[in-house]
């Protein structure tokens, strides 16, 4: 491991144990290039449902603080999320809405890459484009291509172990991670 290895966190948009997206997120550390270490972000599952009254005194819930700090401390963020009703899962949106209220929004100018798995043919594309729109509002540096849409995901993961088994998917994910590493270095090097 070199000193300038990038520290990237992965946020999963699903809480379901057998989630394909969670499985893909768990696979990322092994698929990352040598210059990038990928770790799971703190959970957002215990965050209260967003309510301005809960931080009217300027204090945010501890789990919101922890999530925001992890994002702030990372060189880049990968969001791996399912699509719920053609859009961002409520739980993930709740977490984003929380940290968007920080005085210094942790997503600001943070390189962010997106991945999604879905049972249908589009592989979560509609969710990703909603997410891009939200991330524009909080001024993230959103990675472009290659995009990762794992369509018909039931065929690409092992039925029992939920492990990612589809080689073309593994290859394109590796490619995205490599391109994302370059993107982060280019963006951070020019700040």
């Amino acid at each position: 491991m070199s000193d300038n290895q990038l520290n990237v966190i992965v946020i999963c948009g699903s809480l379901r144990k057998g989630s394909y997206n969670a499985s893909l997120a768990r696979t990322l550390p092994a698929l990352a290039p040598p210059g990038m270490a990928v770790k799971a972000a703190p959970g957002w599952d215990t965050m209260p449902v967003y309510n301005h009254d809960l931080h009217a005194d300027g204090k945010f819930p501890a789990e919101v603080m922890a999530w925001g700090e992890a994002i702030r401390g990372a060189d880049g963020v990968i969001i791996v999320s399912p699509e719920y009703n053609w859009s961002i899962p409520g739980g993930l949106k709740n977490a984003i809405d929380w940290v968007s209220r920080f005085k210094e929004v942790p997503f600001k100018e943070k390189p962010v890459a997106l991945q999604s798995c879905a049972g249908g043919a589009l592989g979560g594309a509609r969710m990703q484009y909603h997410l891009r729109q939200c991330l524009t509002s909080i001024d993230a540096l959103i990675f472009g291509k290659p995009e990762i849409f794992v369509s018909f995901s039931a065929k690409k993961f092992d039925e029992k172990t939920v492990e990612l088994t589809d080689q073309p998917t593994i290859d394109i994910v590796k490619q995205q991670l490599l391109s994302f590493e370059k993107f982060i270095r280019r963006m951070n090097g020019r700040k």
Binding site: Y129, T136, E147, K191
Partner: protein, 187 residues
Amino acid sequence: MTNVIAICGSLRKGSYNRIVMNALPRLAPEGMQIKESPPISEFPLYNADIQNSTGFPAPVQALAEAIRAADGVIFNSPEYNFGIPAPLKNAIDWVSRVPNQPFVGKPIALQSASPGPLGGGRVQYDLRRAMVFLDALTLNKPEIFIGNCAQRIDEKTGKITDEQTIGFIKQQLAAFAKFIASYGGKN
């Protein structure tokens, strides 16, 4: 000097978006020069057979070269039927096929004016999506949506009359200059 070109999505002479584009050089921060792009009006409708037989038409090459040479690109575009105007989409489609397509890594800023209340919000999100495919770097904020533009722009004098709009545009251009300085340049 930061050299920026502006591409207007409307071909109409008296276009509100053209008026906004024409105002940009005077609203740009010091160190940023903004010029109109070569015209998109003479592009044939995109057809791969043309590029495969007689090559890329000269106006397409001119625009591609201008984008390549620029430090940043601004789109000034109306919204047609909730989407990107066909002349502009046609131009983007042509340029996207040029070898080493010039939008890669190129800083982009978006501005739109429309007579409706949203000021072209939907065209901008369509453009952002097309720019993802072209791997450009699109500025996030501030966004410029000039809603109810007939009340903010004088068609007769060809001037923006609304001071707040002028202020927003100046802010965006300043942010764009910073964005280009931070993230622009060749890979």
